[in-house]
Subunit: 349 residues, 2 copies
């Protein structure tokens, strides 16, 4: 790393996303991206006896689906990087039993998809691994009863709350191939603006997101205009508005090329208050709509910023405020032709 | 990675451990390694109102201590990698607020010290970061009430149980320096031998440990005799015996150069049943006794294998068996002289 204050690493050998898969619950399957998901579950128990086991099975299917999409077998994987919202990330660790592959468990709450891509891309780019699976998942029913109230209580939801997406996504990163490439990654710092309301995740995560975005633009010497799409993890309506304000304070205008996975995934008519959240939110939006548009080259350069709120029910009960974090990766459509007509090389990238 | 079946990566540019720090509770401060720890707390609330907040403060102190030991300031850190046993790893994430440094949260249960070193060493070795802090912690009172029973219940402990170490450890990895070097890392696979007894962690983790050790010896073309010390995370008495048996089935004899952090940390007279456990167990043993012996070159080549049981109270309540995992790193004493016959100083760096 050249500049010690930089939070961003640039990949010389750029890892390709050679396979991807998204699986969602019935509610998400009625949302705006219903035509982009690989699989829509008919019911959110997915044939299992508990929601936790369903969530685990979703990750297994996401990994298998992404491996097949990459035209590989699970034996070709050299590393499985995954994390989720459940205590001791049991979704990921138990799903890892299904694959005879070395496993790195992560926790970044809803920032996990970007965190796993940042770590995975670093390990592939440096030549240590050739094929790495990066996955995450969330499930409305497991998250709700773990972080808030028993489902049976039918508790009323405050207007600032978001709806945890039932969904899992997986990317296969590879040193070879012709899928979209990850060109840089910005590792986020933990921020805490003193919000203690566990029903207002958007406002908790917006400062962390702002911190990572500002660092990213500075480190890469870019502005928001340099991206076809800047997409945040799951800030929801309120969080996105807060982010836009915070970014403006830092001199950056987020315009029409900015969107939020929590707002994209559901239609305006679905009852989700501020929008979607959960690790599965950004994971399924990335592994459906965004990657398809990158493959079709309708999008050429995407800044994917997944955001996480790092609370537990214990920390909330002990009166702690809630730290937030965001990690970012730049994903670009793969252009195998090195732009020959220019006279000077290197100027373009 | 040359061999697609290999679980081990070899570091061309070997990261140095340029700083370390260990902090333990009063009970550990009366154990076998009492003269090696950097700080022994007088009481395990550490001036805080809850044990969770004490655990968090221990990580903060471990990171600051290791940074000082490395003759750096927190501003010199470029990445903080940490994980712990608590739900949503609040110990690590909340401690990360204290440092203005990018943060990667991990979860590998008690394997976290080795997992963070493996990931951290990869990121330093590949040139992406110069100074990275790798930390973890556990606390008897937070773990006990989260995974088992309220402390006030005074519940009897089954004979196979282990005692969660109250302690935190931190290593500072750097691309430069003259501390011990990490030469390779073996990423473990998740194994599950069908044990569902949450009070028998040693037997849960031994198969995962065996799997990683066998992979390591094969990948590196070494045998147990090639190491001055092979030290497992926290298998305890019973788990260590199971490991020795399992390794013998694979043709490897673990002899007098084998030991287990869970057995080293307490004296035989302390009431800890099968020995120590928890992320803090291997972290504090590594960051005290082992690293001191490596610095003094009394140990030259150590295979450090931290082991984790990937359960949650939810998975146990749902009747799941318990997956185990182990990650390994080889740490070698740093010999700046490239072994020529010439006795010129200064040229070595």
């Amino acid at each position: 790393m050249k500049n010690p204050e930089s939070q961003t690493i640039f990949f010389k050998k750029k890892p390709h996303i050679i396979g991807s898969y998204s699986i969602v619950g019935p509610k998400e399957g009625k949302g705006s991206l219903k035509n982009y998901f690989d699989y829509i579950m008919k019911d959110d128990l997915f044939g299992e006896k508990t929601y936790e086991k369903a969530e685990r099975k979703m990750v297994e299917q996401a990994v298998m689906g992404a491996v097949c999409n990459a035209k590989l077998t699970p034996n070709d994987l050299q590393l499985f990087i995954s994390g989720d919202l459940l205590n001791q990330i049991i979704t990921s660790s138990f799903a890892a039993r299904a694959f005879d592959v070395p496993y790195v468990g992560l926790f970044g709450a809803c920032s996990t998809m970007a965190e796993s891509l940042a770590v995975g891309a670093s390990l592939v780019s440096s030549g240590y691994f050739d094929n790495v699976a990066c996955a995450t998942a969330s499930h409305f029913s497991t998250a709700e009863r773990q972080f808030r109230y028993p489902l049976e209580l039918g508790n009323q939801r405050p207007p600032t709350s978001q709806w945890t997406v039932t969904g899992a996504g997986c990317c296969i990163l590879s040193s070879k191939g012709d899928g979209p490439v990850i060109t840089s990654a910005t590792f986020g710092k933990v921020t805490d603006f003193g919000i203690a309301d566990a029903n207002n995740m958007g406002c908790v995560m917006a400062p962390g997101c702002c911190s990572t975005l500002v660092a990213h633009f500075k480190d890469t010497n870019t502005t928001p205009e340099d991206y076809d799409l800047i997409v945040t993890g799951d800030l929801g309506k309120l969080g996105s508005e807060v982010l836009i304000d915070l970014m403006e304070d830092h001199g950056y205008k987020l315009r029409t090329n900015y969107n939020d996975c929590g707002q994209i995934i559901y239609t305006g008519k679905q009852s989700v208050l501020m929008g979607g959240s959960g690790c599965g939110c950004s994971a399924t939006v990335l592994n459906s709509y965004i990657l398809q548009k990158l493959k079709q080259k309708e999008l050429k350069k995407v800044l994917f910023v997944a955001t996480g709120a790092l609370l537990s029910s214990t920390s909330t009960q002990q009166g702690d405020t809630i730290p937030g974090i965001a990690h970012a990766v730049v994903i670009e459509a793969y252009d195998p032709l090195p732009k020959p007509k220019k006279t000077k090389k290197g100027a373009s990238k």
